[in-house]
Symmetry: D2
Subunit: 337 residues, 4 copies
């Protein structure tokens, strides 16, 4: 951390900052410049709370230097983490495809779609049983009945299943049925839920919050690792911007940035980023080209009657074609990197 003083800061102000830094157990190293003095704050483990020093008299700005995360960082663990979900692996040079409907609507619906996505080459099945909905009047998911249908899908197809958990009350239940527990964008900073996920034996799919920085997202993952669970997969799903032609703006740069900063795998959800079916194929290919470790794609055989998010769901045939394209692309990249 660097504490930058005003040009006209007095020596007494500078000394007070040095004293404050040292009183918190850090080392202060003044750096006289041409125009102003800055004070380096050293020997801190992890991030220091900004506000301690920016509130002092004569301070212009406080600039963080060290990244705030530890366990999730490449500097802590350099080799890629590989996460196991049922028989599927996510991470390193693999391309793992997760697919299924937004919400589990019925056993027939789930099994029909599961059959299609398995045939196309998906390794994991997705489907919501507890749905976070903006409106209290919208379909909220089938609850435990939905989880039972997911178990049936696993039994019938052999696919592992991932589903979202919304709260502490239903965590045990979701954990019992699912092979992987998803924490959604709206809950990325639900710290109680993150702590509970840290005590889980199941791998966790952690979506990026709608306006979270990569640092905040990695810190959310840090909660889970700190709790004892290092089986975490990050999922970029678009961020909220001024742009209106897509539901969110997919932040493709997050893929190389996360891969450089962290050893955790990162996959992409093109469906929620796009919000419209005709963009999903392009965003999926783009994500694989940027070397995401996988995709999580919404597929529905009858989107006109889907109970949620029909407009962004691929049809089974589109998904099949997509899988073929991204598998070829991934193979080509593996060979040339």
């Amino acid at each position: 951390m660097l504490v930058v003083m005003n040009k006209n800061a007095t020596q007494a102000e500078i000394d007070a900052v040095i004293t404050a830094v040292e009183s918190h157990g850090y080392t202060a190293r003044p750096i006289p410049g041409g125009e102003r003095v800055s004070i380096g704050v050293l020997n801190n483990e992890g991030a220091v709370d900004h506000s301690r020093f920016s509130a002092l008299s004569g301070v212009k700005e406080v600039i963080p230097v060290t990244k705030p995360y530890k366990l999730v960082g490449r500097e802590f663990k350099s080799e890629d983490t590989i996460v196991r979900v049922g028989d599927a692996l996510i991470g390193n040079s693999r391309l793992t495809i997760i697919a299924g409907p937004c919400a589990v609507e019925s056993e027939t619906q789930a099994l029909t779609i599961a059959g299609h996505v398995k045939a196309a080459g998906a390794q994991i099945f997705r489907g919501g049983a507890f749905k976070p909905r903006t409106s209290p009047y919208s379909f909220q998911g089938l609850g435990e009945d939905g989880l039972k249908i997911l178990a049936k899908v696993r039994e019938t197809t052999g696919l592992a299943v991932v589903t979202e958990v919304l709260d502490l009350e239903t965590f045990d239940l979701v954990e019992k049925y699912a092979d992987m527990v998803q924490i959604g964008a709206r809950n990325m900073q639900n710290f109680s839920l993150l702590r509970r996920a840290g005590r889980s034996k199941k791998p966790v799919l952690l979506k990026r919050g709608m306006s979270a920085t990569v640092d905040e997202w990695l810190m959310a993952a840090e909660y889970i690792l700190e709790g004892g669970n290092d089986q975490v997969v990050l999922c970029e799903r678009g961020v909220r911007t001024f742009v209106r032609h897509s539901r969110n703006t997919l932040d493709i740069s997050a893929v190389p940035v996360v891969s450089r900063e962290s050893h955790l795998p990162i996959i992409v959800d093109p469906s929620h980023a796009a919000g419209y079916r005709d963009q999903v194929m392009a965003l999926s290919r783009a994500s694989v080209a940027a070397q995401a470790h996988g995709l999580i794609v919404e597929v529905h055989h009858d989107p006109g009657n889907a109970l949620s998010d029909g407009a962004q769901s691929l049809l089974p045939d589109q998904f099949k074609k997509l899988c073929a394209q991204v598998r070829s692309m991934h193979q080509m990249l593996i060979e040339t990197l």
Copy 2:
């Protein structure tokens, strides 16, 4: 809702949309235009799920017309809601001031600050006992000990107290001690928490999410009202934008927009919007000038040693001056509006 067809949509596609609309129980009203046909969707109560129709063949766009909220809307209840918190009232033409430290750190700290803010004219005391922190390694609040200190503040000063609740597990506890329960920005779409707040007997302070639209925010409040609790105060606290000179960008327009759309009171948190003390006074005055029903301001007598957010806390003297300014301004506005 309006379903806009492609210019070259066939009659069969148009008919299929009409059939789909009617199969969902709505009335379809085709509107032939010069270039293309649009189809009005009528007799829907509340919002219709977009995706049902945007997924159909020949559809260019689906445009919502009706707002999705009901109980929180002015069209449902036209007169202003007034919320009672201890002896304080919030809403209508009042200006209610809430102040205190970011986090309760000790009994001495809380009582010292409470004395200052009461003397300056605050009606409600704020202070966090459970703190949502980006890092698992940061100070997480005193927990129940913090709540007990808040009770002591109430007992000693007569001020009502508001504090944040983070999860279902600690809701009963927070509810027992607090006069008003705060749901923070990160939990604005924690729907389980919103439902629990809907069953509470205590008034709720609902902060706007970091990148929530006003519609999403009002829908979050709708969850609480729908659960049976209509004592909800909305709190604008800035949104995340590209701007870096403040912690968030205060969306002042939200004040008149919410006041037009909803009967619920809206207050402003200038401290989290600004992030820097020297902006807090300006944002506070601006909020009152825009006719917010109140302010929630961070005050600390020793910000250099605050355990969180010291940089954005006002000193007691600054707060006293601020209260005088905004009270005069509010009085003047009441007289001239």
Copy 3:
């Protein structure tokens, strides 16, 4: 500037950075930390180009410390600049009100509105003769005829007039008729236009770009001052964010931030920020409460037939009431600050 090295940077990499820093004429000061080395770059006048050093091997990040502007900064000139426009002054503790229609449509329209705004207490008249329009098919302004009408308004009412200039070709013309030349948001980084404004004898109203940072905006003003014209007034007019209930999001924090960083006056355009008449009064009062040096407000006596931006124009009666409110508020602030 601070060059932060990777944790595992080699001594050779560190030495290469030092050599590069010194080869550009700066002083390099290595700061060994607990985990990594950082290198301070000293004795630079103004900002150093980041990319010179961030491209070097072993460099993790380059962090600017010094602000890039010079002539516009408070550190260069501490007392407030006061800008004269006709008989009106802008800056320091004054509140100066500019008002008029979006576009000059006819002599009758302009004189009618000028009569209203003068009576209400505006000191400067605004009206566009050359209009920047998103569509080539929209009304583009009356051109020189509009300028002549503005001259007539000045002659008849004694109000100074401000109008926008769009390009180098028409700069001489606009400069001849106007008392103050406006550079619009879309041209904030039209550097040729800024340079031309720097050679003008007329004061300049420089609007903030739609997504400009305060630093970029001040650097745009720096172009004008560097060219020899220090009569510059900055105008905040809202920035583009994800928010849709207003045309732009007014960045109220920009007022205190600019006032701290620069000696130039800053006014606010609530009309373009809001986009809707019912928000304009609230935003205007908020701006004055935040101590903006003035307002520029759109007023139209017949907004339903305005050729542009009718929806955001105040009616003369509303404007009159607004002027009374903000004058009282300003007076109260002057007395209590």
Copy 4:
């Protein structure tokens, strides 16, 4: 366009809107709904100015239905436009690669880099002679000397050259030397420059503004086509968002959206989107995977000494590898689409 009335709008208010619509020459078609009346505005060519009707009494909202552009739209011309730049073609199923330094610094530098990029397979050379710089104190480009060097590059290598034009004063000069004229992000709504480009015989590369919507961008292109020049290539270069790990956020969705809405080719500038070399490869591949018609990439053989944007320039070897990757990927896509 749809004019939505308040629930409690009176018949007189509704009639007044109908009269207003008809007085502007449109057809009004009232659509009584369950809760409120809406009024369709028909027979308008292109977009209608919102503000005409939103200002009327009893109006809740005005919703545009028709897109504002005409000549650039697929509905106007369905087949892909192919743009010729020297011997190179851009558009339809081609992948065209433009590469070179940010700024032309010297003949040696330009020829060295041109040799590298030609060998790697680029078809067009880029290099700035007039540079738009945030600071008046930064390197502003070599001006006409830079243009002469570009002509030398063309002569020596046979590559076509593209370079940015900043203003009307230098347009003739740039047009004389360049094979393609670039209008930069900061000038996307410099309407005088767009009109001048519309009268040019040279093809135009039109970059998207930093916070422009796709509609605004297409309307900027509409200015050029309306002026008589239909040789326009659009270039996505990232938009400004809250994200800080990249210089801008590449909006990959813009590629499929523009391709659906317009017949003009769209290419991507991964260098300015990323801002950091280590993200450029990923963004380039992502763009090609999303079926952009080309890339414009910054390449420098000595980025540590580049006069601008060194940090985002690829080294010649990286560029060579990139070209091989994206050519394979493009070939694969052509075969499978």
